[in-house]
């Protein structure tokens, strides 16, 4: 019975970050990279994968060390661990794709101050055994990537007429340039949140009535 309960909980851990506690749409955390790099689907995916890598690795290491880290220095230790993995992902991206590295720029290193990672570490990894912690972190990462992709695709489609570099419309398409500029980032994210809020209220209204 304990085995069964643990299995369910592990799956829930994974899904929690994707829907119920989606970092972008529900918790509105990690805004800075969300808006800055999502001018195209490819960049969004790259940032999402990099953040997931850091999330999973730091959650794993922190969870492993959770019984050894005294609580007085826990934040400092978490930060050092997270910064380490961010530095690693920085080098890995450079080695894999300089184009992605140029596109994401300084925002790769800014992953270290992404509230999601420290928040997860503090709220979860520090208290759970490795497997649930890693699954939860992975779910958060996937949820974050989905959020980034939602933003990046819309901005790329409207602002450049392409998706992942593939031109979608004919030559007559006038791109809505503001979408790939800073204001566009704010507007598109605001529109997504509006959509989610409206849908949530409708669900509530239906259940209430």
């Amino acid at each position: 019975m304990t085995m069964g309960a643990k299995q369910v909980t592990n799956m829930e851990q994974l899904l929690e970050g994707i829907w119920k506690q989606n970092p972008v749409f529900v918790m509105t955390l990690g805004m800075c990279p969300t808006l800055a790099v999502t001018v195209s689907g490819f960049n969004a995916l790259g940032m999402g994968v990099a953040t997931t890598f850091v999330l999973v690795c730091s959650a794993g290491l922190i969870s492993l060390l959770r019984n050894f880290i005294p609580k007085e220095v826990r934040i400092a230790t978490y930060i050092v661990i997270i910064a380490t993995f961010v530095t690693l992902v920085d080098y890995i991206i450079q080695a894999v794709s300089l184009a992605l590295y140029d596109a994401l720029g300084a925002f790769i290193q800014l992953i270290v101050v992404n509230c999601i990672i420290l928040g997860r570490a503090e709220a979860h990894a520090a208290k759970s055994p490795s497997l649930p912690a890693v699954l939860n972190a992975f779910g958060m990462g996937v949820g974050f990537t989905i959020g980034l992709l939602a933003l990046g695709s819309v901005r790329e489609i409207l602002g450049a007429g392409k998706l992942f570099g593939v031109t979608l419309f004919g030559a007559d398409f006038q791109p809505w340039v503001v979408m790939v500029l800073p204001p566009g980032g704010f507007f598109v994210l605001g529109a997504w949140l509006l959509l989610f809020a409206w849908w949530a209220r409708r669900k509530e209204a239906n259940h209430g009535a």
């Binding site: 050894f68 220095v73 380490t84 080695a95 340039v177």
Partner: protein, 231 residues
């Protein structure tokens, strides 16, 4: 050491030795991880950079068979190693299959509308002119600023941009300047794109700032470069 206070279990208070030890251990583990991955990715990163560089330079100088990197410092030119030395201008000497010096390529950058605009320009010592540019980095407004890549008239500015040195060989005879669209009179001027003046000026400034420093330093060593000093 009287232990009057029995309400605080001693196990809750961590000694500072333990705190320092934990932090130290964690930092050591992390440091080791970073160094390991850094070493592991170093060759791949260097290879990537080389590929990107060659792609850019080859686009400017299609016949280039060999590219040699140099740093032009105040005290002369040195073969390049790693990142550019502070105060030196990195340039690339291109040679054809027979070892003849084809052109010099270098980068220049200046702030445009959104962020820095960096261009790679090609210089022929023979005509003392720039014969082409390639935009390396640009975050200008799509459809407006990015016309510096697509606008044929703008690109034509750089078919023979005069960057000859003054008689004292210490500076340019005339600064490279971006002028209003249609008012270009001299070979060292660049005709801006209407509606994209800021970005056009950034290109002009970037090139000017770079050649003002590079060309006087390059001149005394041209023969050495033409001989194709190996490095």
């Amino acid at each position: 050491m009287s232990n009057q206070r029995t309400d605080i279990p001693p196990a809750d208070i961590t000694g500072s030795g333990r705190l320092v030890a934990t932090l130290g251990l964690v930092t050591m583990i992390c440091g080791a991880l970073i160094v390991a991955v850094w070493q592991w990715t170093l060759p791949a990163i260097a290879a990537n950079k080389k590929v990107m560089l060659e792609r850019g330079v080859k686009a400017l100088v299609p016949d280039a068979a060999r590219i040699v990197e140099y740093d032009a410092a105040a005290d002369g030119i040195h073969p390049a190693q790693g990142d550019p030395v502070a105060g030196a201008v990195r340039f690339y000497a291109t040679y054809d299959g027979g070892g003849k010096l084809l052109a010099i390529a270098a980068e220049g950058g200046a702030r445009g509308y959104a962020d820095v605009v960096r261009v790679l320009y090609g210089y022929r010592p023979g005509c003392e002119c720039i014969f082409g540019i390639r935009v390396v980095q640009m975050k200008e407004t799509p459809g407006i600023g990015d016309k510096i890549i697509t606008d044929a008239a703008f690109v034509a500015n750089f078919d023979k941009l005069d960057v000859s040195l003054a008689t004292d060989m210490k500076s340019l005879a005339n600064d490279v300047k971006t002028v209003k669209h249609g008012s270009k009179k001299f070979g060292w001027e660049i005709d801006a794109i209407t509606g994209a003046t800021i970005t056009s000026k950034a290109v002009g400034r970037g090139i000017n700032d770079s050649v003002q420093v590079l060309l006087p330093r390059l001149r005394p060593h041209l023969e050495q470069l033409e001989k194709g000093a190996s490095s």
